[in-house]
């Protein structure tokens, strides 16, 4: 029964609290925004945590707290972890950015790693994956496969990471299908299956036959399955339980190699604050198996694009590209910079052709 699990966890937690300063294990904490069983974002971060345990065995001790709201609660959880003797803390959601910086100031000897943010400090590194490379491939498949020419997109929060994804998917869908139209619903949550399901249903009712999601649960895929002729993609994780249904491919976040290398750096004393932003090439972004629902030629094109993105011969944002208001963003052949005005890191505009405003 699950109660024994809980008791075991409680016992482990108690053990941790009492033995915090007793041995020289490297202690690594993880702060998760959703439950580890969400099947998406947090599930993959937890897989990275388990990989760290498998790699270092007895030399490392990991703890995690799930379902931590972005805000004051996050700060409390991080403080608690630092007080319990954590050497390294991974905070795995965009909204933990300011809490991480605040707590890091109070604990200069503890190392922090914040996912998908942009604020660094001497003891705070940032890391993210170039999910937009995966979105380019999704966009290509979506543009080729939509029959209604309407693609539904469930956005979470209007932050650069999500906007990059929408732009990248749109550019590549438009390239292969000039008639394609994107309908975007903002859910204002990372994880709320009821809301995500409602959003997906509405998009499907309005004619979308491809659903792209930037939220973490499998609810949109369940809605697509219920609707019938609708396809979708696994988000953050493979979501392969929908393989026989709507899921035609997926973007998989693979954090394990990064987590292992960072824990190793702490053990060796070589850890320093840096900014990591890897994509398909470095293996941080994976593309899940493309199913047989996708025609063979489309699949081949998608795989070719994946290879080109991986070896760097193609950039997902290559000009000519205009902004939504028609002004020039990238000239012919120019590729987007990571950090500059109008760079990818702080992207806050839609590209030309997308209808609708970004909520403030």
């Amino acid at each position: 029964m699950k109660l024994t699990n809980l008791l075991a966890t409680a016992a482990v937690a108690l053990g941790l609290a009492t033995s915090a300063f007793a041995d020289d294990k490297t202690k690594v904490g993880f702060v998760f925004v959703g439950p580890v069983g969400d099947g998406g974002w947090t599930y993959e971060h937890n897989k990275g945590r388990l990989a760290v345990e498998a790699e270092f065995g007895d030399k490392v001790e990991t703890t995690f707290v799930e379902n931590v709201p972005e805000g004051a609660d996050a700060e409390r959880v991080m403080t608690q972890m630092a007080l319990q003797g954590a050497d390294l803390i991974f905070t795995t959601s965009f909204g933990y950015m300011d809490p991480t910086i605040n707590v890091a100031k109070k604990f200069p000897d503890v190392k922090f790693e914040h996912a998908t943010g942009y604020k660094q400090a001497d003891n705070v590194s940032v890391y993210s994956a170039r999910f937009y490379e995966g979105r380019a491939i999704e966009g290509h498949i979506a543009g080729k496969m939509t029959k209604s020419n309407i693609v539904g997109y469930i956005g979470s929060f209007p932050i650069p990471e999500v906007i990059r994804g929408i732009n990248s998917a749109y550019i590549h869908a438009k390239k292969v299908n000039p008639d394609v139209e994107f309908k975007i619903v903002w859910a204002f949550t990372w994880f709320d299956p009821a809301k995500e399901a409602d959003a997906a249903k509405v998009l499907i009712e309005q004619g979308a036959d491809v659903i792209l999601q930037h939220t973490d649960s499998t609810a949109p895929l369940a809605a697509a399955e219920a609707a019938g002729n609708v396809i979708g993609f696994g988000q953050a994780s493979d979501m392969s339980e929908f393989k026989d249904g709507p899921r035609v491919s997926s973007i998989i976040d693979d954090w394990a190699p990064y987590y292992i290398s960072r824990v190793k750096a702490v053990m060796d004393g070589t850890w320093e604050s840096k900014s990591t932003w890897d994509g398909i090439g470095a293996g941080m972004v994976g593309i899940g198996d493309i199913t047989d629902k996708v025609p063979a030629d489309v699949k081949a094109e998608a795989l070719a694009m994946k290879a080109a993105l991986a070896d760097g011969s193609y950039h997902a944002f290559t000009g000519p590209l205009n902004k939504q208001d028609g002004s020039v963003w990238l000239k012919e052949g120019e590729t987007a910079q990571d950090y500059s005005d109008d760079g990818l890191a702080g992207m806050n505009f839609f590209v030309e052709g997308i209808v609708g405003d970004i909520p403030e």
């Binding site: 699950k2 309908k183 204002f188 299956p193 409602d198 009712e205």
Partner: protein
């Protein structure tokens, strides 16, 4: 902005679905309040029903059994409230609030191992011929059985309260429990049964969210539906058919705001997402002019000796 993208038939059909959980929970609470008991624990009973139904469906593989266990789970939790308020004579408001908090905690404990699982899908009741009628077929005859059960429940409660002896006794207990007691009716027993009926309805409503509408389990997934159900009863001025109307209004605006967003209407998203709640408040204010009043003994504690 392209309003033509909104299909009215599908909009009305999803309105019926969105309204069902609050309608079922609301009609249950109406019966409880007509018996003179104010149970603010609807949210807690709904979420407990949601997880009980989900667990039973995963274990047995049968959604029908899932709904049965959801009703049982909700009723069992409401029994705790009945014990506190009818036997121990505790304050109903405080006990109800405690029940909500307890239900939320209990459900996340029970649900630990069930996050992310996929329940077997509940079959849709496709009525041959009828569901092929253009427009009306989609709106009225393409739903799962619980949608119809909800409407039937409203009709049954209305008829029972209005035309039967049981209904009359229940209303008497709610209006003046001392008089009902003097006539020899078992006030406490009747109220406990009403509370359990309310709990079972709340449980069903919760399970509708976790088994059909989403279908998945997450902590806190009823997200305030129980409070809406409570507001519905006041909104309906304790009349069954108005619960149905209120539920459709609330469900309709919830669905409409998502549709408007997807259609690209340039109204700020924040305003759209709070619109169902604003409309609820506005309608409550307007309805307060209505002279229908609450059951006279609502929320009052009864003891045979007083």
């Amino acid at each position: 902005m392209d309003l033509s993208a909104i299909n009215p038939a599908l909009l009305l059909a999803s309105l019926l679905v969105a309204a069902t959980p609050i309608m079922i929970a609301g009609i249950g609470e109406l019966v409880v309040e007509r018996a003179g008991v104010l149970n603010l624990g609807v949210e807690g009973m709904m979420i407990t029903g949601a997880i009980c139904g989900f667990m039973a469906t995963i274990i047995t593989g049968s959604p029908a059994l899932g709904f049965l266990f959801a009703a049982l789970g909700g009723a069992a939790l409401s029994l705790l409230f009945a014990l506190l308020t009818q036997v121990a004579l505790a304050n109903q408001v405080a006990s109800g609030l405690a029940l909500t908090l307890f239900g939320l905690g209990l459900s996340s404990l029970l649900g630990q191992g069930y996050v992310g699982l996929k329940p077997p899908s509940s079959p849709k009741l496709d009525i041959p011929l009828l569901s092929d009628i253009p427009f009306f077929g989609t709106v009225l005859f393409s739903h799962d059985i619980i949608v119809y059960l909800g409407i039937a429940l409203v009709a049954a409660v209305w008829a029972t309260l209005k035309y039967t002896r049981v209904g009359l006794v229940l209303r008497a207990v709610g209006e003046n429990h001392d008089a009902a007691h003097a006539l020899g009716y078992k006030v406490v027993r009747i109220r406990v049964l009403a509370i359990m009926f309310g709990g079972a309805c709340a449980g069903l409503g919760g399970a509708y969210i976790s088994l059909i509408r989403v279908p998945q389990w997450t902590e806190g997934m009823t997200a305030g539906a129980g409070w809406i159900a409570l507001a519905l009863v006041v909104f309906a001025s304790w009349k069954p058919w108005r619960v149905l109307l209120g539920a459709w209004l609330f469900g309709g605006i919830t669905v409409l705001q998502l549709n408007l967003q997807a259609a690209g209407v340039s109204i700020p998203v924040e305003i759209l997402s709070m619109s169902p709640y604003i409309i609820t408040i506005v309608v409550l204010v307007i309805m307060s002019a209505d002279k229908s009043r609450a059951p006279a003994s609502l929320g009052r504690i009864f003891h045979a000796s007083s």
